[in-house]
Structure formats: C-alpha cells, structure tokens
C-alpha cells in the first residue's frame, strides 16, 4: 500500500507525460548481498522484492510496459550452484506471483523472452503456465528477458528472415529494418532504459530497441531501487520532453 505522501507524489507526476515503457537492467543483487554478508541467492531474493515494488509503482503511474533483464546467456558462466539457485528462485517467484493474484488483480500480461530451450524443464513448464494464464490481461505488460543477449536476438531474427527469403515468403529486396524488428522477441522501444549499480554499459541488452531510448545509469544497487528513484526517472523524462 502507498503512503499518503507517495499517493500525493504520484498524483502530481501524472500531470505530466508518463513514459509508456520502462526497461531495467537489474544489476547489483550480489554486491548488495556481499555488503550485508548474505548469500548471493539472498541478494537475488531482495532483488525480486525490488522488482515487485517497481511494478507496483509503475502501475500506479500508468506505465504500460515494464521490461527487465533477469538472466543473460553470459550468466550461465557463473558457478553451477548459483545458476541452479537462480533457476529455482525464478520458478518459485513466478509461481508465487501467479498464485497470489498479483498478476490477475493488476491485469499484467507476462512474457518471458529468450533462449528458453536452455532453461530446465521445470522452469519452462512454469513459464508456459504463467504466460498462458496472463495472456488475456490488458492493463500492462511485463517482459522478462531470460537466457538472452541482444546479439543472439538479432542473429535469430536474421536467421528467421533468411529462411523466409529461402522459402520465397519475402524477397531479399523487401528486407527492411521493420522486417527485422518484426522477428525480434519484442520490438517495443523503451522510453527509458535504466541500469542500476553504477555500471554504465548496456551489456548486450536491447541494443536494437534502445538505440533511441533515454539511458539512465544509476548509482544504486537494484535491491535498493525504490519509489523515489522511479519518481526521479519520470521527472527527468518529463524534463527532457519539456526542454
């Protein structure tokens, strides 16, 4: 529940233009855990709470699409114990979100995007269940990128287009940026792409989609990302538009 101060701030911010689509590179869970002498998984659990809070705030502001980078293909290089722990956590939290009614009450449609065939079968089953049960929801979209890198996404799109050229569905001359975009996992362009933890790199995330997005590199660890950070983001977005 929001405090009256938060409600008030949200009402004020809604007087200006609200970004339609926010994307987040949720970086800093392990550093958060290390600072508090917790395990990595504990850091990721706190990161999930931050994600839920971010969703709640975005919904109240009227943001229509929230896109998050949950797990990169590069993250498979991490210790097996951590990767397995992350897969189990993802499965558990998706189940919780679905069963708690949070997704239904807020009419959030969940899309999980990435090389899902690389994920363990128990997680793929949960993903299938959650995406099916939420596909009719219309208030907001939550895109979660798992087992993803942007270059692999573009490569995959090219392969699909080349196959269509081979099949005769389209001709080589008809290949345009729009055709390639149609074959990406998602072509929604974020208004703002945010990376937490102070790192100022895209790390192979949404390279195509975010080429004209406002980038925001924040020096806050993801589990500490809060209502106030989102408000500042929205304010900076409104300021850019105002200028």
């Amino acid at each position: 529940m929001f405090t009256w101060v938060e409600n008030f701030i949200v009402s004020v911010l809604k007087e200006g233009s609200i970004p339609k689509h926010l994307a987040f590179i949720m970086d800093g869970n392990r550093r958060f855990a290390k600072q508090r002498q917790l395990s990595s998984i504990s850091g990721h659990k706190q990161g999930f709470h931050a994600l839920k809070e971010t969703l709640r705030v975005c919904l109240s502001l009227g943001v229509e699409i929230v896109t998050v980078y949950a797990f990169s293909l590069e993250n498979f290089k991490r210790p097996e114990e951590e990767v397995n722990g992350l897969m189990k956590l993802c499965h558990k939290k998706l189940e919780e979100l679905n069963q708690s009614g949070f997704l239904k009450d807020n009419q959030i449609s969940v899309r999980i995007l990435g090389e899902l065939n690389l994920l363990p079968s128990f997680l793929r089953d949960t993903i299938d269940k959650v995406t099916r049960s939420t596909q009719s929801h219309t208030r907001a979209i939550l895109n979660v990128h798992i087992a993803y890198t942007s270059r692999e996404e573009i490569l995959r799109a090219m392969k699909c287009v080349v196959k269509k050229v081979q099949d005769g569905t389209i001709s080589k001359e008809e290949i345009t940026e729009e055709i390639l975009e149609d074959h990406l996992y998602s072509k929604d362009v974020p208004d703002i792409l945010v990376r937490t933890s102070g790192e100022n790199r895209l790390s192979d995330y949404l390279l195509w989609q975010a080429s004209s997005s406002q980038l925001s590199f924040l020096d806050v660890l993801w589990p500490d990302f809060s209502f106030w950070h989102i408000c500042l983001l929205v304010l900076s977005f409104q300021h850019q538009k105002w200028k």
Partner: protein, 280 residues
Amino acid sequence: MKIFSSKMKDGRIKSVGYSLSLFKILHLIILFGFHLISQIFGIFQTFRCFSLLSIENQRIWKDQNERRKKMEGLKRIPTHIGLAIEEEIELEFISNFVSICLSLKIPFISLYDDQGKLKEKRRELERLIHSKASQYSSKPSIPRFHSLKMASKYEREEKKWTNSLGNNNINTSMIILCDRRDGKEDLVNVCKLISDSVLNGQIEEKDITLESIDRNLSTSGIPDMELLMVSGHKMQTNGCLPWQIRLTTINFIGDLKELNESKIYKLLERFSKVEQRFGR
C-alpha cells in the same frame, strides 16, 4: 478564488476541478525546480570547466612532460574510443578531442553524428587535426581516415586492416567516421548479403553465426568500441552503431566545448579502473 469558493448544485465536480488545478501547479513548480537545479549544476560545471580549461591550456604549452607522465600513469587505455556528437557539428572541438586521443596513441577513434555531416566535412576535419597535432604531442603521428560504408558482397574471411604501405603491422591511429546508416541499416544490408549467399548455395543456415555478421559489417576487422562519449543533453546513443556497443562504457559529457583534456583524463582514469565480469 471564485471558482474555489462558489457553491454549485454539482459541488462535487467543482471540488474535483480544484484538486486538478493544485496538482498541475505543483507539477509545474517541481518541474521548474528540477530544471533550475540542472541549469545551476550545468552552469557550475561550465564555470569549473572554463577555469580548468584556462589552466590546462597553459599546461599544454608549458608542461607536456608532466601531462605525458600523467596519461602514461593510466593502467589501461581503450583500444577504440568513440565520440557521438548530438549537437551542432563544431570541428574545432572535435579536432581537439581527436588530437588528445592521438597523443595517447589510441589505435581507433570513431566519430559519430547521425546525419553524416562529419563524412561530408572530412577534408576540413583532416586539415584541422593535422594542424593541431603538435599542440598535444612533441612527436605527432599522421592518422589514417576512414569513412564507414556497407559491404557489397558476402565475406567469408575476417578482414585485416593494413597501413598505407599494405602491411598488417598497424602503427598509426585510424579515425573512423560513421553515421546512422552504419547502424541498423548496415545490419539490414548484412541480412541481405547472407540471404544472397544462402540462395546461391555459398553458405548454409548453420553458417549464419555472430562471427559471420561481424565479418560483413562495415566495421569488420575493427575492434568494438570500449569507451563512448556522447555529447549533448539527450542522454541517448541516437542510433550509434548498436551492434558494436554491446560492452561499451558510455559516458554522457554534456556540451562538447566543455570536453577538455582534464575531463578526458578523468573519464579515462575511471575507465581504466572498470573491471568487467562478462556475466560471471
């Protein structure tokens, strides 16, 4: 006051109208306050940069040895540095930036503007850079200039850049001029080249890999940008080589005229301390 205090039959509507006005006013005040703070911060930065600039200009002339030692103290210098210009093209400031990078012997220096005006002004830029080279280095090197252009046929082999003598031993820096067409449009071009090769039977679908895309882009053979400085105030890369900036450290530097040697040194110092985990 009349609106707020008048009694109406549908008084409920009037009170809602009152709330809306208050929030709108508050929103404008907060937005203006935010703008004021950013302007003051910007003026402060400008003032600080101008004062540093005058000091630094003196240091360039009087103390090249000290400057060289300071730069050589950097643990790591990027192999490829980029400058994306989001505002009016001012060749004077761009050539200052390039000259500083040349004095550090950075092998690849990319200059990006989305409209391609830099490619049009290439000759003038070359002349300016040659004239400034000796300001920042006692032994200025003559860089090579290269304007990116899309490949016309599918490449199977990785390109090797050669110097003007045709040797693979590169010992001069390369200045690369690029624009929006070298980004997404180039990727579309690669897709077309690959389609052609598949249709002609030159390659199969399994041969379409990240490396085959790399080989056929206009930047083939050039290492990805490690550090990108973006001028202006839009805080976006504005279409700058999306494929090539996947691991690039991106810094927004504000007005290009404020990018002096001291600021570049600070950004390079920060860059040299970055440890990339590459997913681990």
